[in-house]
Symmetry: D2
Subunit: 292 residues, 4 copies
Amino acid sequence: MQVSIWVNHEKDVGFRVTGQLVDALEHYGAAVRMDEYCAGVLKRPELGVDRAGLIAGCDVVLVLGGDGTILHAAREAAAADIPVLGINMGRVGFLSEAEVDNVQEVARRIVQADYALEKRMMLQARVIGHPQAAEHIALNDVVLSRGAFSRIIGVQIYIDGQYVDRYMSDGVVVSSPTGSTAYALSTGGPILAPSLECILLSPICAHTLYSRPIVVGADSKIELVLTAADKDAQLALDGETLLTVSNKLRIEITRAKSQATFIRLKGRNFYQLLHSKFSEWSMAEELPEVKA
Amino acid sequence: MQVSIWVNHEKDVGFRVTGQLVDALEHYGAAVRMDEYCAGVLKRPELGVDRAGLIAGCDVVLVLGGDGTILHAAREAAAADIPVLGINMGRVGFLSEAEVDNVQEVARRIVQADYALEKRMMLQARVIGHPQAAEHIALNDVVLSRGAFSRIIGVQIYIDGQYVDRYMSDGVVVSSPTGSTAYALSTGGPILAPSLECILLSPICAHTLYSRPIVVGADSKIELVLTAADKDAQLALDGETLLTVSNKLRIEITRAKSQATFIRLKGRNFYQLLHSKFSEWSMAEELPEVKA
Amino acid sequence: MQVSIWVNHEKDVGFRVTGQLVDALEHYGAAVRMDEYCAGVLKRPELGVDRAGLIAGCDVVLVLGGDGTILHAAREAAAADIPVLGINMGRVGFLSEAEVDNVQEVARRIVQADYALEKRMMLQARVIGHPQAAEHIALNDVVLSRGAFSRIIGVQIYIDGQYVDRYMSDGVVVSSPTGSTAYALSTGGPILAPSLECILLSPICAHTLYSRPIVVGADSKIELVLTAADKDAQLALDGETLLTVSNKLRIEITRAKSQATFIRLKGRNFYQLLHSKFSEWSMAEELPEVKA
Amino acid sequence: MQVSIWVNHEKDVGFRVTGQLVDALEHYGAAVRMDEYCAGVLKRPELGVDRAGLIAGCDVVLVLGGDGTILHAAREAAAADIPVLGINMGRVGFLSEAEVDNVQEVARRIVQADYALEKRMMLQARVIGHPQAAEHIALNDVVLSRGAFSRIIGVQIYIDGQYVDRYMSDGVVVSSPTGSTAYALSTGGPILAPSLECILLSPICAHTLYSRPIVVGADSKIELVLTAADKDAQLALDGETLLTVSNKLRIEITRAKSQATFIRLKGRNFYQLLHSKFSEWSMAEELPEVKA
């Protein structure tokens, strides 16, 4: 069995957890690979592969990091239909499944295929007419937003070819169910159960006060047309800026052909996660830093 | 062909439109029936039937009235799997399909079966442990809310047996996609495309500020448990109060076995309807009445 | 010095804290009074007075209870310009100033006048044309809301004689700064610093989606005119229903002539209180009760 | 009488209205000045002055443009305590007082001093420790927000030295009553009556879901401390970016020493303006452009 370890270098300081994971996986008989830098630090250069090698030909991707790292790895793994397991190295995460203190158990269950799989729909965005008009994939969200130096953009929304609304706003978030607990939530969107197959549109700080989040079916085609554009509107997928656009722009968003696949080790309760996350966000933990 | 006319007596004053509709339907060869009072006023007592007769054995139900009347008729027709067509006699309606000025055309298309059908999921509520524990059906929403003389109720929310949240609030709206543009919208809920199969939970004026609308799959089981009950909490379906409850209460809400079926005569654009509705709500039409 | 003790019989079980407070106050030389039932239980019938006697002629009112009890006592004391101190017997309170475990210290500081005073503006409501058209006082809020069996009311809002908006909604909250952290907050209103002199209007579940909370000066006159009335709309002050109204109704709300006066023993931090309150509301403390 | 005309070159095409205004003002005996380019186009080079001359020594500033131009002129005029009158050349404006079709009447009333004055409080921001730590003035708002390439910033809020909250958000809007109908409104803030003296804080897309808009007195000192800073957070006053900041930053915001002074020609109804503005925002006017 080929197991790839995808590690956030800033979170696993000294690659301590990565090292433990390598030992455990090899103990249970798996072949392990990781990026070359990490392999070097662990003095196991023979395990080092390049970026493409982290995905191609492996059976499972284990991610050591926070939700951002897991998002990134899951997108890449989805294209090759490889399942991902996130080991949480930060705050409460919606995407991670295991904690760093049970690495031994994780390794055993991975190698013995003692787990369930959970599919999550993803989004695909195409920028029509743009020279970089490739298809781009997002697991959480596609966000079209005003640039830093302007205040408002106008975005016409079409759903399945029908005109819906023109948001005069800071932008619009088009989100998968997975992404509904990320940026979309802070714009006032609802929480979508992760197993749903649908797409959420939510305006960011709409000046048109009646504008409301809209949930449509996963097979709908969303089109965003930038009408009152500023010079530096941004298109971002999963929080990573893809394009800065100063000209008129049409973006088509549909469900992606591929799905993300997550390994589940336990009976997960999405709502308990929400509890933990909301509590983390609550003031009790927001101790003020000392004022100089 | 048996066509039933279900008319709101207050909206169709003198049953003028009903009369036109009877003439047109008979012209095209349909057999028509209506409630006995209406048949009497139109001097066609032979067309009068009792309430049960408005549904049983007919092929189509035509409703003359606003969204409230259509809701009511659609629920009853759904149990017998009979399609409904609403002819709007009020303000912009989400559920009506035709206007009173094209009654002739409506009659022709109904009789010639020149129409499409649109299914809408409905909700079913059971009050566990209550002597009136029958199954109750709603097309829009099931609402559990505080009574007039209290200020807050506590409602525990379970989804598929998992504890989700305790809303300290004025209540909770459990809504179908159809109902998402009704009461749920005013509580801050999202708009759900009407063809979706899912259920929306939305707290009413939550004191627990983090509480957010949640969208779950249509096959989920929602349970509401009244914990901090007042003496007169209300359970209402589609805006009609079902029970006043002073004791502890558990309500199970699932999708209903039956669906509502609406007749569609034209390519409907749900979002254009939203436009019209929002404009109707906008201040431009809200002329102040003269102050005495 | 005449000290009145106003005690919530359900919160101070057995009047244990009341008894301690009497001892401490008398130790420092104050004359104490309380309601007759409480005095009887404490076997000090000579301290018992009727309701009017709890206010008339006393120098300070000490309240043992939660925010509801303090609200009530503060309104009555305000009419006679007597300061109030709340001793908290429930959850985190916005209006209480002391805890039950430092009754001794409270008694000493009261008798030695070792405290500061904080004024809070109050609201006055008059129901024009109603037989019970007396002036009614609220410290938190005046709420006009739909009855239990209807779904929406229409309320025209006038500010200083100018037409502002017609809320089609569950009702409207007119709130003082003190009340901004009570019911108004759950309707989506802002938090007002308690020392502000202004009045907050906030619609409850508005169907007119553009309707927003409005803050006006304390000397503005608010008029609410019920236009689309149902049979049992409610007018409530500080959460206590005053009138059930089925006819057209005009309500004038202005700042009250009297102010509430609270005794402050410590440097209070309103925002720390908000922290504590939000944390209390947070999910961490909302443990699910065991499902039967 | 010295009248300065401050004109938005893009709005008054060909300076047609400016020309009419010059004629009318001179007819009534006023001395007129304007920027040199505009004076040149009108072939009245003797009326041209530099930027400083548009303010210094004049009695009144007439502004031809939209709310953005009026904001800018009002800030500069406020420092010299000169009143401003906005003549609207765009959409419904909150700050303009006259329309372009009654220029003659405007000129007469200005010269004959037939008007009232309305004061509006302004805000002052100081960036502590920053080399450009001058005092900056805003009439609408001071906005600290994330840069285009990041997703969230952490901002600690202090009011009068007391810690209030840490917003994990897209940023924070600190707004005057005048600014409450601008950007702050789209973040979910309340509408403040323009004559109020207070300051509104409103988070932009807060991840800490309990975070709410807060209204404090005009004499409060607001401090914003950027804690989880990204590389390009923005500080903007009245929508114009002042600083891009990558380091820790503390911003002190207080009421400005100077006030803006607006000339009022008629009994203004702020709430009627709101009506017009909301209607303008409503969908009825948002006709979709033809899709190519």
